[in-house]
């Protein structure tokens, strides 16, 4: 009997593993797996990988000290427009953990036609550095339990300047 249970568990595990390995998808669209080469070891999730939520799951919108205006002020104060003809969108996505700390920053960049493009380093480095320095993210909870969540910021760039910040 014991052998049958062990065998069944092995088959179940194997089938689950196969299912996951064969899929091109992770748990959820947009999940950021910890990557040694780019992610700091200082940033830790408070709960499991499978418990990380999306910012809108809390139905409160963006939660930052001083609300969206507080966030905008940080970029107004810190970002210096770059003299270039480049325009488009930059998204930086990251995780806010249960202590309000951030990590696993991921960047995508496009032109105004949503085609991938690499922005001038002077733009991208500034935006990444400011985003990484933001310290006003609010802790969000689900059933009274502080929860890790994905947040993103999208910057609409026109000729090297930040015109709008979303969401």
């Amino acid at each position: 009997m014991k052998k049958i249970i062990v065998l069944s568990l092995l088959i179940l595990f194997a089938s689950c593993s196969t299912d996951t390995n064969n899929s091109k998808y992770l748990r959820w669209v947009g999940d950021s797996v910890y990557t040694l080469e780019i992610d700091t070891t200082e940033f830790k999730l408070c709960n499991s990988e499978s418990s990380v939520r999306q910012y809108f799951h809390f139905n409160k919108g963006l939660q930052y000290k001083g609300e969206k205006e507080g966030l905008r002020t940080e970029f107004k104060q810190e970002y210096t427009a770059v003299d270039t003809d480049q325009s488009g969108w930059i998204r930086i996505r990251f995780i806010v953990n249960c202590e309000g700390n951030t990590g696993r920053f991921r960047i995508i960049e496009s032109d105004m036609d949503y085609q991938e493009q690499v922005f001038d380093e002077r733009i991208i480095n500034q935006i990444l550095k400011i985003t990484q320095s933001l310290d006003g993210w609010k802790v969000q909870s689900m059933r009274d339990k502080p929860t890790d969540y994905y947040q993103y910021l999208i910057f609409k760039i026109i000729k090297g300047d930040i015109i709008e910040i979303m969401p």
């Binding site: 899929s23 998808y25 992770l26 748990r27 959820w28 669209v29 947009g30 999306q54 809108f56 139905n59 409160k60 919108g61 963006l62 001083g66 609300e67 969206k68 205006e69 507080g70 969108w89 998204r91 996505r93 995508i108 496009s110 105004m112 949503y114 085609q115 991938e116 994905y150 993103y152 999208i154 609409k156 709008e164 979303m166 969401p167």
Partner: protein
């Protein structure tokens, strides 16, 4: 009776923002789309970000690579995670195979999530050129597409075109006024320097949906006209409403003309300092 049935099925196929009725494809003899549609139903019960949800739609597209609904359903998770590159590739496919049924979605998402005003205008104009019926509402139901076009024109610095669309839309007796229509028109009037008109319009918003934003902008218009008493009254009311969460809200993004507590408090301070 047959005409009624056909009309009903057409409406069901193109029903906004919903899973198509697979039986309608069968009725019209489109077996491939019927099978793809049934395959897509397997995503039911799975979260739209999840592997199972995406895989069910991939399987549907493997059956019929022209099934527009599956592309749009796949695109939503990318939209909500801010991945505009993948989202655009998917939603472009949906529009390619079903422009009449999918342009409303691409247009309103371009406006709502990416502040892509020119793109939204292009899509709405394109949709309007394709259909003879009412072009309808945004995917979240907050705005008629005409209003999104008006807001987009305003955002790209064409207030007169914006005003024209607002007035034409709101004068149409068959039009149901949206929950923020008069607010945005009031702000447009304010920005154009028509303060009395802004007050008149924002008072209409009070009747439709009295929130912190219309009280805030009406206060600014009163101040421009030198009426400090009404300005203070409305700013105080705006703050109360804001704190009671009677204000613009979208769980995904900041809305156009949305205000925050600091905006109200700054204006209260300015008004008291200038008395």
């Amino acid at each position: 009776m047959k005409i009624c049935t056909q009309l009903f099925l057409i409406l069901v196929i193109f029903r906004i923002n919903a899973q198509p009725n697979c039986e309608a494809f069968k009725y019209y003899g489109d077996t491939l789309k019927y099978e793809a549609c049934k395959e897509a139903e397997k995503r039911s019960g799975h979260y739209q970000f999840s592997r199972k949800y995406q895989e069910a739609l991939d399987d549907a597209l493997a059956i019929d690579s022209t099934f527009a609904f599956a592309y749009r359903a796949k695109s939503t998770a990318y939209l909500k995670s801010g991945d505009f590159i993948t989202w655009k590739k998917l939603i472009d496919k949906a529009v390619q195979y079903d422009p009449e049924g999918q342009l409303y979605y691409r247009a309103s998402c371009r406006y709502q999530f990416f502040r892509d005003y020119k793109g939204a205008i292009e899509d709405i104009k394109h949709l309007d050129s394709l259909v003879k019926y009412d072009i309808g509402y945004s995917q979240n139901g907050d705005y008629h597409l005409n209003i999104i076009m008006a807001l987009s024109y305003r955002a790209i610095g064409k207030p007169m075109e914006s005003l024209k669309i607002f007035e034409q839309t709101l004068q149409d007796s068959s039009y149901s006024v949206g929950i923020y229509d008069y607010l945005h028109l009031g702000v447009l009037n304010f920005e154009m320097g028509n303060y009395a008109k802004a007050i008149e319009t924002l008072k209409k918003q009070e009747i439709e949906n009295d929130i912190a934003e219309n009280r805030y902008y009406i206060a600014l218009a009163y101040r421009k006209l030198g009426n400090t008493k009404e300005c203070i009254y409305n700013l105080d009311l705006a703050k109360k409403k804001y704190l009671m969460e009677s204000r613009m809200f979208d769980p995904y993004v900041e809305k156009m003309d949305q205000i925050f507590l600091i905006d109200i408090e700054n204006e209260i301070e300015t008004t008291y300092n200038n008395r």
